[in-house]
Symmetry: C2
C-alpha cells in the first residue's frame, strides 16, 4: 500500500506524471509545455484543459513532491523510537528514497530558494514537523551520559547533510574522486553504513 492514489492512466494522470518528470529535472523555466505534452502522449491544449496554466501545473507537482518527502522527516523528529534507532532508520530511508529519485532534493532546494515566500506560505503544509521531541531525546541522552554533549539542531543538520549532499554533488564527486558511474553507485551504497558509523563515533561519550 505504498501509493493510496489510483494509478490509472487517464489523461489527467498521464499529464501529471509527465509534468512531474520534466519539472523535477528541468525546473519551472527549463521545462516546456510542449515536452510535457509529448511525454504524456497528448496535445498541448489538453494541458490547459486540466491544469489552467503552467504555473498551476507546476504548483501541483511541487505540492506532491513535498507531501511525499515530509513524512520521513516528521517521523525522525516526532516518533518515539530510541534516538539512535531513529537516526539509523532516517539515514536508511532517505538514502534509499533519494537514490531512486536523485533529482528530487535539488528540485525542492531550488524551489525553496528561488521563491521562499510562495513555497512556505502557499504550498507548504501548515502543520510543520515539530522538532521538540527530538531535541528532548538528545538532551536526555546527553544527561544520561549515553552520548557526547551536542546541540540537537547541529546534530540533525549534520545527519541530513551527509545523506543528501552527496546526491546533489554527485557529478562533481565523480570527477574529483575519479569514479565512473559504476564506482559511484557502489560508493553511494556504502554511505549508509559509513554515515551511521561516523555519526555513532562522533556521539561516543568521551572516556
Amino acid at each position: 500500500m505504498d501509493k493510496p492514489e489510483i494509478q490509472d492512466d487517464s489523461s489527467e494522470q498521464r499529464i501529471f506524471d509527465a509534468a512531474h518528470e520534466v519539472f523535477v529535472q528541468k525546473g519551472l523555466h527549463g521545462a516546456k509545455m510542449q515536452e510535457i505534452a509529448d511525454r504524456a502522449g497528448i496535445n498541448k491544449a489538453l494541458l490547459h484543459y486540466y491544469y489552467r496554466s503552467k504555473e498551476k501545473l507546476y504548483e501541483t507537482v511541487v505540492r506532491a513532491v513535498i507531501n511525499r518527502v515530509l513524512p520521513v522527516l516528521r517521523d525522525l523528529l516526532e516518533s518515539d523510537k530510541p534516538l539512535l534507532e531513529k537516526i539509523d532508520y532516517f539515514i536508511h530511508f532517505y538514502l534509499q528514497t533519494v537514490s531512486k529519485n536523485p533529482f528530487v532534493p535539488l528540485f525542492l532546494i531550488n524551489e525553496m530558494n528561488k521563491n521562499p515566500d510562495h513555497f512556505f506560505e502557499t504550498i507548504f503544509p501548515k502543520e510543520l514537523p515539530k522538532p521538540d521531541r527530538f531535541f528532548q531525546q538528545v538532551q536526555s541522552a546527553v544527561e544520561a551520559g549515553e552520548i557526547k554533549p551536542i546541540t540537537p539542531q547541529h546534530l540533525i543538520v549534520n545527519v541530513i547533510s551527509m545523506c543528501i549532499f552527496p546526491i546533489l554533488a554527485r557529478p562533481m564527486l565523480g570527477v574529483i574522486l575519479g569514479m565512473q558511474a559504476h564506482d559511484m553507485r557502489a560508493f553511494l551504497n556504502q554511505r549508509e553504513v559509513e554515515i551511521r558509523s561516523f555519526v555513532h563515533a562522533a556521539l561516543r561519550p568521551a572516556p
Copy 2:
C-alpha cells in the same frame, strides 16, 4: 590582494557583474537579458556587443565562479599541511566564502546536474585537484593510530556535506527549526566550531 582583476566600471565589467548576480540567482533559463541590462544600467543591445549571445555570457559567468571556488578544494586535497589542520582550515574558509555568496553552491550544483557534459568537458579546468595526497595522509594517520580507521573518500564527502548543505537548505531549516533570520545567522556562525568538533570526535581513535 584578493582580486587581481582590475575593478573598473567599464560597461563590459558592469555587464559581467550584473550577469553574475542574475545568473547565479536565477539560473540560465530563469535569467532574462533585459534584467541583466537593466541592472547594468545599459541597453540590451550592448550585451550582445560584448558577449555574442546569452549562452556565451552565461558560460563566462560559470567559468568565473568555478575558478573562484576550485582553489580551496585544491588546497584541501593537495597541500602539505597536517590533516586536521587542513580540514579545519577548509571548514573555516568554505563557510566564510559561502556565507558571503549563499547562491553560488546551488548555482554550481544546478549547472553540473543539468548539463554535466558541457560542464565538465568544456568549462571545467583540465587540471583537476588530485585527491591522492589527501588519501595518503588519511591512510598514514590511521596507521599511526592518530585517527579511527575511515575511508578517505567518505571523510572528505562528510566534511564538505556538512559545510555546504546547510546553506542550500537554509530556508527549510529556518522553518523546521523555527528560526528567524537573526537566529539563523547565529546558527550558521556556530557551525564552524560545531562541524570541527563533530569531525574531531568522529575521528578520535577508539580507546
